[in-house]
Symmetry: C2
Subunit: 253 residues, 2 copies
């Protein structure tokens, strides 16, 4: 008898940003797989088990969860933010494609969540108010030259850029190189938002220009948003500035 | 005495995908501004007023809401999905920048939500599992040639593409032209998802290839996701296929 697998996102970490759909799925599951800090956000009952693993072990975690569901358990894989954005949903699909044929017949549900760039954007104004993209700066699973090509292409095309996984101990120089590439394409006055832990008690939102953007402002919990040439900063007396990308855009010369 | 302005997103339309943060803000507000169908989703109390307007009147709506907040009211602007993605947060910022100086001192909060592409992606698998972008196909506020340039650039760069505002009575041909442009750049076998009303009772998720993609599959409630050359379809016996973009990517030749 087969069980069930739910892959869900808790949102950026503020419990008020977790959807009722995700909360109900958490209440219904009996075993939880995920990166330890994400599992720590859950208030589990004594009858609910947790299997924590490191954030580099996504495919192994997906396979273990699929096996448990196939064995009849009611399984939940927990991501922060949205499970479909640089998170576990793709790893689960990859495991299904290359795994046991029976895994294709499992009862699988993916439950969306508020992804980090949306939470950061909401705290800063409306930087994603026009065309934008999300790029992971991790070169664990793709070659760095491809990331450079993409940064060039999207900046030249006028898209706002949200950078996920901007920096880690194992990847200390990539974000600085990304800023250097973007300075070749974008005005140095372009707004850059360092959005750390949006909506959580340790939240820190910092707005600077591309000229001033320093990788030291980012850590693993940061989503970095780089404006387009049209993105604007509104200064406000006694309040943080608002950063927004106008809904309208002009033709490029 | 100044009131307060909250700009929030209800998510794609399924009440279980509205965050508790948004629900609490709705309970606390006294007057609501928004596009009629989004206001219809709210269960308001008799003491809560609504001011509905057409979806082409965003700037006027933003100004009216800011005026009401400045006059002391507890105002809520309601978007579907996330308010920062092709929705009201940017219109409010634009109104503040060009409006009365006192509007800059208002108590303004923006509350994020689950945007359409995340809900559609969750129903289809994990098509946004790698680098992706969101582009509005509306040429009301930007010239069509700019949209064509951007589609070319992001497809050539290998990003998955989520198209917002793909079609309307006033813009009947743009989506077909977009598919024609993408067929010049992408393999015709690239998966395309037409995600209509994700999470709602009238939900319809359709997966085809780029060769088969027909604008007639889309309406105003549809978010269209076009894969990258790496995006894959997993067939499942007795279940809809899973569409996903692998977490890894190869260097381009």
């Amino acid at each position: 008898m087969s069980g069930r697998l739910v892959v869900l996102g808790t949102g950026p970490g503020n419990p008020a940003q977790t959807t009722p759909e995700a909360t109900a799925a958490i209440a219904a599951a009996t075993v939880f797989f995920g990166y330890g800090p994400y599992l720590d956000r859950l208030s589990l009952r004594p009858d609910q088990r947790r299997v924590a693993s490191d954030n580099r072990e996504e495919l192994a975690r997906a396979r273990a969860a699929l096996s448990a569901a196939h064995a009849g358990e009611n399984v939940c894989i927990v991501s922060g933010g949205d499970p479909g954005v640089f998170a576990m949903a793709a790893a689960v699909c990859e495991a299904i494609e290359h795994g046991a044929p029976a895994w294709r017949e499992l009862d699988l549900e993916i439950i969306p969540g508020v992804t980090a760039m949306l939470a950061v954007a909401a705290r800063a104004g409306a930087p994603l108010g026009h065309d934008f993209c999300a790029i992971s700066l991790s070169d664990n699973l793709k070659p760095w030259p491809l990331i450079e090509q993409r940064l060039h292409a999207v900046a030249a095309a006028g898209l706002v850029i949200a950078l996920y996984n901007p920096i880690s101990r194992a990847r200390p120089w990539q974000l600085g190189t990304a800023f250097a590439i973007l300075r070749e394409v974008l005005p140095w006055t372009t707004p850059v938002i360092f959005g750390r832990a949006a909506g959580r008690p340790d939240e820190a939102i910092k707005v600077v220009t591309l000229a001033e953007a320093d990788p030291l402002h980012a850590d693993m919990a940061t989503c970095v948003i780089i404006g387009s040439p049209e993105t604007r900063i509104i200064e406000r007396p006694g309040l943080p500035p608002l950063v927004y990308s106008p809904r309208s855009a002009e033709a490029k010369s």
